[in-house]
Symmetry: C2
Subunit: 122 residues, 2 copies
């Protein structure tokens, strides 16, 4: 049976409709990429701490460096990525750049993630 040679798994033949349905509903490529980048950005310990700190109050680079106990260079690298994804924005006051979250979606994402954790027993 040629069909089985190509697709050893019977499931793939029987349930093709589910696959087709998923394909029709799938995210457009560009949107998928951008969404992946947002979660990837939030999926790093350092960046998540930055975002969580900024969800409380705006901070400058050296504030964040002191808070995270890493170099200002490392902070700046991460902020650059977060800026490019429009997760954070800044305003200048004299020589200092104060960073904040771009909008409330980010803190909502963090809040829902925490809800998920707390709704689990272990």
């Amino acid at each position: 049976m040629n069909k089985l040679q190509e697709d050893a798994c019977l499931c793939r033949i029987i349930h093709t409709d589910r696959v087709e349905k998923a394909r029709r509903a799938a995210l457009e490529t560009r949107e998928h990429q951008r969404l992946t980048n947002i979660f990837k950005a939030m999926g790093d310990p350092t960046r998540l701490r930055i975002l969580f700190a900024l969800s409380q109050e705006e901070m400058c680079v050296c504030d964040l460096a002191a808070f995270l106990d890493i170099t200002e260079s490392a902070v700046s690298h991460q902020l650059r990525m977060l800026r490019q994804l429009y997760l954070v924005a800044n305003r200048r006051q004299g020589p200092v750049l104060y960073y904040r979250l771009t909008d409330e979606h980010i803190s909502r994402l963090i809040a829902i993630g925490l809800e998920h954790l707390r709704d689990l027993n272990p």
Copy 2:
């Protein structure tokens, strides 16, 4: 000035209160780790597509492999990670394991991420 030798950045002295406030408000370590892992899991193109597909309908491993056009082994590896983080759960029906999202938080995270994207012009 010794203070300046330690911390060249004046900002760090002036704005210490912001750093202290951030430290008090910071997430507990274990919670921070688990939250990071959730976003890291969602921040991979393959896993995000899996989660998005499962947000529409439950699917088995070979469904997902066909949908994503990757090997069932690769899917299984990713599902293992998602299972360990309690992002997905499964039920057995005969020899087939059907996977679904553990709860609605996950699809809400995806929805809010998309909202964030769509609220941006570019």
